[in-house]
């Protein structure tokens, strides 16, 4: 390996492609056993959500009033619910609802939270104070009460539930991004690009945001889990998803009256919620180690 500048002009200019660090992150993620378990459960649930039509043996809404609340049997793997509908099919279709609620609610919180967070973190000053006081106020009201009042104001139904859960998650995202933006703003590579004459917007988009994606992704993964839980709680109070759409929280809620007579009505939706949230938590932890900042140096 000679170190003097290689004089020979290299024949083929190395193809300039942006080789992502994905390979590195994926390698570290794969080594974490728990995270892989979480990933598998997550993939199963996503496949349920995407291919519900093929996986579910029965139509989730089709009733069979002759044999209601059957315990698990060969035709109905997980048994039938209080109207004779196949529980397994309802859980499969239910995953579609829960995943959508999780993803879109977190999406709302992610976008709104990051926008506010970046403004506060980068510019500071009165704007930062005002927004942060607003965030403090939202944080001082427990999430579930916030959800209930928003749903009460907007009305029940999938769309409003998503908006409610989204709004109540905004403060958490805003705080995380504000913290990482404030620390990044002082970094020398930001000063370097400022010295090169870059405008603020350029610096935020090219340097600040890519570098605070890691904590965001971790929080997003965990928040999907907690959003599913919040949606189930809303259904439990009767403000959640409109029947007959199969949603795990609603199934758990209606099933609770038959807890003693037909426990399987609550056990399986409950386990489904638990599996989804558990998977999200495990993946969140796995990502936390994989995206660890010490990856930088």
């Amino acid at each position: 390996m000679n170190n003097t500048t290689n004089t020979a002009t290299s024949q083929t200019l190395p193809v300039y492609k942006k080789r992502g660090q994905g390979a590195e992150i994926w390698r570290r993620f794969r080594q974490n056993k728990n995270a892989m378990v979480g990933m598998c459960i997550f993939l199963v649930l996503v496949s349920f959500a995407l291919f519900a039509e093929f996986i579910a043996p029965y139509d989730p809404i089709e009733q069979d009033l002759l044999n209601i609340m059957q315990t698990p049997s060969r035709q109905h793997i997980l048994g039938t619910d209080e109207l004779g509908r196949d529980i397994f099919s309802r859980i499969v279709y239910g995953s579609r609802i829960s995943m959508t609620v999780g993803l879109i609610a977190v999406g709302i919180a992610f976008v709104a939270g990051s926008a506010l967070g970046v403004i506060c973190g980068y510019y500071g000053g009165i704007l930062d104070n005002v927004i942060m006081r607003f965030v403090d106020i939202l944080m001082s009201i427990p999430a579930i009460l916030l959800n209930i009042s928003i749903v009460a104001a907007l009305g029940t139904g999938l769309q409003n539930v998503m908006i409610a859960i989204g709004i109540s998650n905004v403060p958490r995202f805003c705080r995380i991004i504000r913290a990482s933006v404030m620390s990044l703003r002082e970094q020398e590579f930001v000063e370097a690009s400022r010295a090169a004459g870059a405008k603020d917007l350029y610096i935020v988009m090219r340097h600040i945001i890519p570098n605070c994606l890691a904590p965001l992704i971790i929080q997003a993964t965990v928040s999907i889990g907690s959003s599913i839980l919040q949606c189930a709680s809303l259904s439990f109070i009767g403000l959640g998803i409109v029947p007959p759409t199969p949603e795990w929280g609603a199934m758990l809620s209606t099933g609770r009256d038959f807890l003693r007579k037909a426990p399987h009505l609550t056990t399986f939706p409950g386990l489904a919620i638990m599996a989804a949230v558990y998977a999200m938590n495990l993946m969140g932890d796995g990502l936390r180690d994989a995206l660890d900042p010490k990856l930088k140096n």
Binding site: L13, F189, E191, S193
Partner: protein, 317 residues
Amino acid sequence: MKLLEVKNLKKYFATKNGLLHAVDGVSLEIKKGETLGLVGESGCGKSTIGRLVIRLLEATEGEILFEGKDLAKLNKEEMRRMRCKMQIIFQDPYASLDPRKNVFESIAEPLRVQKVYSDKKELERHIYELMETVGLAQRLANSYPHELDGGRRQRVGVARAIALDPVFMVLDEPVSALDVSIQAQILNLLQQLQKEFDLTYLFISHDLSVVKHISDRVAVMYLGKLVEVSNYKAIFKDPLHPYTQALLSAVPVPRIDVQREKIILEGDVPSPINPKPGCRFAGRCRYCEEVCKTETPPLREISQDHFVACHFPGNRV
């Protein structure tokens, strides 16, 4: 012709318990093609000056004349264009490169920001050329900062700095974080670039031997003020200010055949917040008299091109 002239530069930071005098009335000038070494211990304000002269920080007071124009008066747009002429290299190779961008992107950034090239091929060619000039193998274009060692990361920093063909460069402790063998390679590279592109350097460091090696003129700073400025030979041969003398004697020298008189300073550097009048070094100075405690000694030209800020310069017991 004076490329850069700074008059009575001041920079104060508001802190919880008072005003921190980081830079307290510094005046200096750098001729074109010259390297001015700025040396001093941590907390003396040398890095702040480095950022003030290229207006990365807004000065509290004082003028910064670059090629005759006062940078403080320029509006945002004019300042952005002036940025091409002046660049900065940082100390910590790990923090000065964006971990999410590869080498190619990091070097290309200044060119993209100033929209120098419209055609992509042109941009690529120039970047490979720059990489060659700083001694980086072309295959490293795709690698990420965490895959490179300290020396190579600093070379990327240098390539980025010279991308816009600047005239003036601030080097803020460029080699302090590197191992000795790599340090020498970078210093040679900087000297070679200075000759090749007729660059003017403001070289900031706490390492006296490195400063002596690379600078034409040297300025010694203590607690926000310049205490001694002269050409590199005079400062080391005939230091006049007591702090410079103590500083020189404190540096451990890798030679056992040289005997030197040991001056050990007592106590610690005083706090720069709400400093008292009089000479800042009075508390730790061997020759301290009453006048030193009350009157701040101005920077006076004692002998040809040798300035000292002390009431009793050159005093030797």
